[in-house]
Symmetry: C2
């Protein structure tokens, strides 16, 4: 059974056997099971592997699927995982086992933890990352901000994910100005700061924009899988001609995790799936910030991003959303050093250069 694709669901309701039977059909043939040829019933429809009581009216259901049902593609894998099942109330995906026959079809993170450690010659410390804001700023203002952050020790500077083609800073002008500023800062310092422009762009612009960004000197990319699809991330991450580190942002994905009784667990969505799709860094709202994730949910994300998953490299985690320099020691205690620290707006309270240098000194221990 280890070569099957296993999904475990938590079901809130009274008849787990009935719903298990519905799910195994719904997620595969969507057809009256008794009318399907018997070999399809045996080989294509999912198999119920486990129904166990968790507490009253809550059961854990595990169903295994023939890996061929996914067609080896992330899009259909997501559909088997949660496509029509997302329309059932009281059902939550809480476990996933992806067999080698599937993981071997994916490249996962191109750089991951070891790759970016080597790139930055940072064998042990967390990464220093931040975001360019606020929206409304001109390309020149954002470029000046990026320069300040780059000369003061930041490893990666992303566009605020919301920056798209607003009139105040259109994508091409912004990426041109910021990439140049970061390149010049690197020449000055000998550093390797990378700028990650946001690919929060139309479907038919994303791939071209990624290559344009690279040509303009951007050394990384920011992708929004909730908006452009997880497979946009995979497609960019696996592209050997692009070969840039990628940060993934959680926009729009909150609805999959906020309900305790419906959706997909934090660890699977922001950990396993982001990594399978190729995120070198998975950004999520840290506990105690502007959002609502618990410490346990955040650690589940880290587990999904960094525990063994076939041959795939480990992803950095970036617990974010209202973080401050003051919280860094606590974050390192909680997550360890395989963490891309992401402090955004808080760096602008007071002097940006001083704050950036202070955060860099804290993390680099110098």
């Amino acid at each position: 059974m280890t070569d099957r694709f296993e999904i475990s669901y938590l079901y809130h309701g009274t008849d787990p056997a009935a719903i298990a039977d519905v799910i195994r059909v719904e997620q595969t043939i969507e057809f009256p099971a008794d009318l399907a040829p018997s070999w399809i019933q045996d080989e294509v429809v999912g198999k119920v592997e486990e129904i166990s009581l968790v507490e009253e009216n809550i059961h854990r259901i595990t169903i295994s699927y023939n890996p061929d049902v996914t067609g080896g593609e992330l899009t259909q894998l997501l559909n088997v995982l949660w496509g029509n099942a997302s329309l059932f109330p009281g059902l939550k995906v809480v476990g996933i086992k992806i067999p080698e026959v599937i993981t071997s079809r994916f490249k996962g993170p191109r750089f991951g933890i070891d790759g970016l450690r080597a790139f930055y010659d940072a064998p042990d410390r967390p990464l220093l990352t931040t975001a360019l804001k606020p929206m409304g700023s001109s390309p020149e203002v954002l470029a000046a901000m990026a320069r300040t952050l780059a000369v003061n020790g930041f490893d990666m500077i992303k566009d605020d994910h919301s920056l798209a083609n607003q009139p105040w800073a259109m994508w091409v002008e912004r990426v041109t100005a910021v990439a140049r500023a970061v390149t010049e800062a690197n020449e000055e310092t000998g550093g390797r700061c990378l700028y990650a422009p946001s690919l929060n762009l139309p479907f038919d612009r994303i791939r071209d924009a990624a290559f344009e960004a690279k040509a303009l000197g951007a050394g990384a990319l920011l992708v929004l899988p909730g908006i452009s699809g997880f497979d946009s991330l995979r497609s960019l991450a696996e592209d050997d001609d692009l070969a840039l580190p990628i940060q993934a942002h959680p926009a729009l994905l909150g609805s999959f995790v906020t309900s305790p009784t419906q959706g997909v667990s934090h660890g699977i969505l922001f950990g396993t799936l982001m990594r399978l799709a190729g995120a070198d860094i998975t950004i999520f709202p840290n506990t105690g910030g502007r959002f609502s994730f618990t410490a346990i949910q955040c650690l589940e994300i880290q587990n999904g991003a960094q525990s063994k998953l076939g041959h795939l490299k480990k992803s950095w985690i970036a617990p974010a959303g209202g973080m401050t320099i003051e919280r860094i020691p606590e974050m390192i205690t909680m997550y360890g050093n395989d963490t891309a620290l992401l402090v955004g707006g808080a760096l602008s309270r007071g002097d940006l250069a001083e704050n950036a240098a202070r955060m860099s000194a804290l993390v680099r221990g110098s």
Copy 2:
């Protein structure tokens, strides 16, 4: 204020003024508002237009946004609507007003209700649609099924949305065989049945596959915005070289609507947004089928799909998910004739040709 982009939220919680202030910043500048230049606070950050008590600890909050914040692109419009806000618990989008300055940037459904009525010379009746299944069937078996459905009066036959590149019927072989079968059936009957292959495919295959499908004789397309992104739908719908009717499928989108206290309302997600993105037909699980939508939620979808929205054509609705021929009269009573009836697996219970002919006679009144 009518030229601003207005979003109304239902908030379950105790301090609506505080959350309103958080949302208007979070969905725009994501930056300490007091540190932003005053013109950005005035022109870029959202404005709270309404906070009204609905019942104890439930408030309706309306925030308006400068349309420029969306950059005129669906991707960033979705991000303003629900990007980071999706990470807040207790918040649900229940209203949306899209000003003309934004709707004018979108083409919406290319055919819509009037366009497909003209194409089929069907000035009044519902459309007859169905799906090819079960997964596991060979291209030849699916093609034979399509032929039977086409000669017996169906207007549109889609792939089951889960059909991708499974080994039993790889995409190209399947689309080739089915498109040919439907074309031959049309030549035989003089009918105009359209085949809609599923574009449940990798990000970097979708556009090419759409054109390949057209070249192979497919007359329509099936898109899964929950998996490939709403903007994949928009991009294909707006492509004048493609110019095919598009059905949109709800896979993966359930998590946005199943919680009564979090997410996006049924009408906005499956009605307004599907239409804005260009769905000629929006498929959703009908009340009383295999899923959980209520009659009111379904009628809200119809309202979003068919009430006035700028210059955009109206979308057909396809209430689906376990429908039977027996339910058709009730569905027509509930939704009226601007409905694409979608009966799938139930047609295979008994004789497919007989069932198809019976459904066609019922709907065509002959």
